[in-house]
Amino acid sequence: MKTEATNRPPVAVIDAGVGNLGNLFRALRHVGADPELTTDPATVERSTTIVLPGVGAFRPPRERMRGGLERALRSALDSGAHLLGICIGYQLLFDSSTEFGTTDGLGLLPGRIDRLPESVALPQIGWNRLVRRADHPLLSGIPDGENEGLFYFVHSYAPYDVPETVRLAEAVHGGAFVAVAGRGRVYGTQFHPEKSGPNGLRLLRNFLDLAENRAAVCPN
């Protein structure tokens, strides 16, 4: 199905103990990546393309990251690695979360994770559309219309207090929240690209392209 692309470095998928990553692996392979599940700080540290997935609650994967893995991730980013956080992995990128008491996040993106408003059914489960806030290569080629550019969400918490410069797209569920954020080489999506049909695969492909072509880093 792939592997002509032998010049591609493996994609390190950090295993923070959040369970089933089979569908993320299948989607990454489908767009030509060679994903490798890892909990090994040394592997993370020498990776140039890193994915931080997650489902469930904020705190267990956060605690799992503390120490060696977190240091390795920061070191890899300092050396120019690209990082994509997905769902809880996206939430981990921000400063803090209020889920089950306040927990500090990785602080790679500014913002705070808070519960979605109670005016809507929670968790949000289903397809929701993006409202673009920036023209970013991560979203390139993904349609942007009333009934297009939808992605599959499963969550009860989302980032708030995110500076305008870091917001790439929002979605509305009981009010707007930041559904895609990015700064430098750190990006994240609240939705699951691996379950979002062609749009999700395109976003994963865009991330790989960003990681493989360091010159194309977007200034914001």
């Binding site: 199905m1 792939k2 002509e4 692309a5 369970g19 089933n20 089979g22 569908n23 299948r26 989607a27 489908h30 767009v31 030509g32 489902v55 469930g56 408003p117 005016s119 809507v120 059914a121 968790p123 949000q124 489960i125 289903g126 397809w127 929701n128 559309r129 409202v131 080629g141 349609p143 009333e146 009934n147 297009e148 550019g149 939808l150 599959y152 499963v154 979605a171 509305v172 569920h173 009981g174 009010g175 691996e194 379950k195 979002s196 049909g197 062609p198 749009n199 999700g200 695969l201 395109r202 492909r205 790989l208 392209d209």
Partner: protein, 278 residues
Amino acid sequence: MSARSGPERRGESGLVFRVIPCLDVKDGRVVKGIQFQDLRDLGDPAESAARYASEGADEIVFLDITAAPESRETDLDWVRRTAETVFVPLTVGGGVRRPEDAERLLRSGADKVATNTAALEDPKLLTELAERFGSQCVVLSVDAKRLPGDGPPRWDVVTHGGRKARGIDALEWIERGIAHGAGEILLTSIDADGTKDGYDLDLLHAVAERVTVPVIASGGAGTLEHLVDGLRSGASAVLAASIFHEGTHRIDDVKRALAERGFAMRLESGRVPSGSSA
């Protein structure tokens, strides 16, 4: 924003209604029969699912219809093959009696599991599944049969393809199932199933009014108007089998028509990028 109707019944949301093809699977093949009898072979599950996904299916539901009556283990190769090429949520039901059964399905590529008979026999199964995998993974499948008589309609829960009446009120069971951990209700009218005469709208309305979790309308869809009626009656998603299998309607045509009728939909081409960069 145009005036459009969405599935979220309380506050503002960009969530859209879902159109879900259902594939009944027996011995690894897609089959279809009227009221679970006279089964015909309709092909390979992975191939059918891939075609539906490319037409814009928002999710795909597989029901292994032989699992409950014959108590056999679900052979999961077709789930794995489907997950290799289909990148929308996959729900698989049939034979989920213990958390380990759900785990095998999830590991094979399912995103949600549907449980029916086993949950009725032991509702704690729903709690165990929700605690282990999250409510968003747990679909309670309910087959309801309208009780004869005058007065407000009532429905009994039935199992084994409608052959076994359980003597339990369907609305009460659904509320109890949600309290135990079900995150979504797949609601099938056994009276309407396979008839193409339309969903049991009284049933849909009665359930959707009582619960906040998504309700998937199932059983009886034969025309576009039936899907419209299902969404108007409070369903978050409409599930259909024969109208898609028999080629009466394509999923993309149905979704465009529903969008034109004011229902928020996901409309986009199903071309899946793969391999090296575009």
